[in-house]
Symmetry: D2
Subunit: 133 residues, 4 copies
């Protein structure tokens, strides 16, 4: 997703946030949206799907907020810090909860292990961005 940084560099508005921090948050939000969508679906396909209800549900919530946040922090025109802060905090919270849940299944389900790592990277990237908003 090299184009995220390119899109920031070619935007007509300068932006107030450190670009590396911002690009990382954008990339991790979209990556986490993908991995949570995939993990919810992989859990649904497991034999013990009934034990994975909580994991599926949090994955679906996390996937949705990651898309919303990834899109909102992509936008550089007329930024409204209060809104962005609320989105990025909600996203970090969902990523934390989703990582914790996936970690509980990581030894049995490799997709949960991979997804937990994506959630942790996204949580970190969100918290880093919160520090510079």
């Amino acid at each position: 997703m090299a184009q995220a940084m390119q899109m920031l560099e070619t935007h007509p508005w300068p932006g107030h946030v450190e670009r590396e921090t911002l690009a990382r948050c954008i990339e991790e939000c979209f990556a986490c949206a993908q991995s949570c969508t995939a993990c919810a679906d992989a859990c649904l396909g497991e034999e013990n799907v009934a034990d994975l209800r909580r994991c599926i549900r949090i994955n679906l919530d996390c996937a949705d907020v990651c898309v919303t946040t990834g899109r909102a922090v992509t936008r550089q025109t007329e930024p409204e810090t209060a809104i962005l802060r609320a989105f990025v905090e909600a996203c970090a919270e969902a990523c934390r909860a989703c990582a914790e849940e996936c970690e509980r299944h990581a030894t049995h389900h490799e997709h949960c292990r991979v997804c937990a790592e994506a959630c942790r990277r996204c949580e970190d990237a969100c918290r880093a961005l919160l520090g510079s908003l």
Copy 2:
């Protein structure tokens, strides 16, 4: 959107939240997602689009968070209160900011007036739900 309440009533899990409050929040989130999408597009079509950049941008953010929140509060299986609270707070914040911006253009653009009302209804419904989460 009468089916939102029906879907709550036919869900296998009982739920801990007062159903009227929840159904209202679901309905207002989806309605606000629609009106913010429409208002961003109507502003884009106005002659003075350059004066409406901030309105368009906040409308797009608000539309996205309303879909995410409307879907998350629709889900009744294995609810995680910390995530839901963060989403509904972010949604209320976006609706408040979007209503304020739309209200500034309400005398010139009827679509901003209608959209501001939808945002205020959604903000109210989110705050009511926060009180019972």
Copy 3:
């Protein structure tokens, strides 16, 4: 969702499509997005969740395309008929498949019965819109 028609009436661009047909498609897309999200979640909460995998999966696909289509047909500025036609056809196809799947479980799960009806209404509204695009 009375505001969908109001937003069409207050848009600065006249539009080429019969307004009642368009407003109905917008409303049914958002309603179906909600009911499919709810049905996927209700199926996930059922004891026989393992038998409902296909229903959950199609519900998730249908919910996503309904949001995308509901938003796209909401937009009246610079419409591109080829794109809209492709979206509305994809939405009708997903609604048809989701209705058929939900109907198979309608006698056992009331949420599937309610959701199938929402899918059929949305499929009809999409096909009616295709006739006037």
Copy 4:
């Protein structure tokens, strides 16, 4: 977005589609969703925003269908080929139209040039996937 292939490899269901083709479509859909969101916003920030209405509008449609399609093709459990085919065709159509529009502005706006390339890559990846569905 290296995790897209990992998530495919760790999914409990084998899948009928060539994995490289699928992973590329998933990655390009999410990348294109990001670049179209960014291009719509960058166009909104340009001085000549009034000349970029069509570009903004198609970018918004394309961003939405790319998220929906990227999520749908990510799901491997109980795939329904007719739905997937309709989504991927709609996505390819939106990417083609968005690329053509962005290419018209590519000499004046670097973000349009970068976005057009992302749209072409996504269109290609969608057409390749259609060939193996």
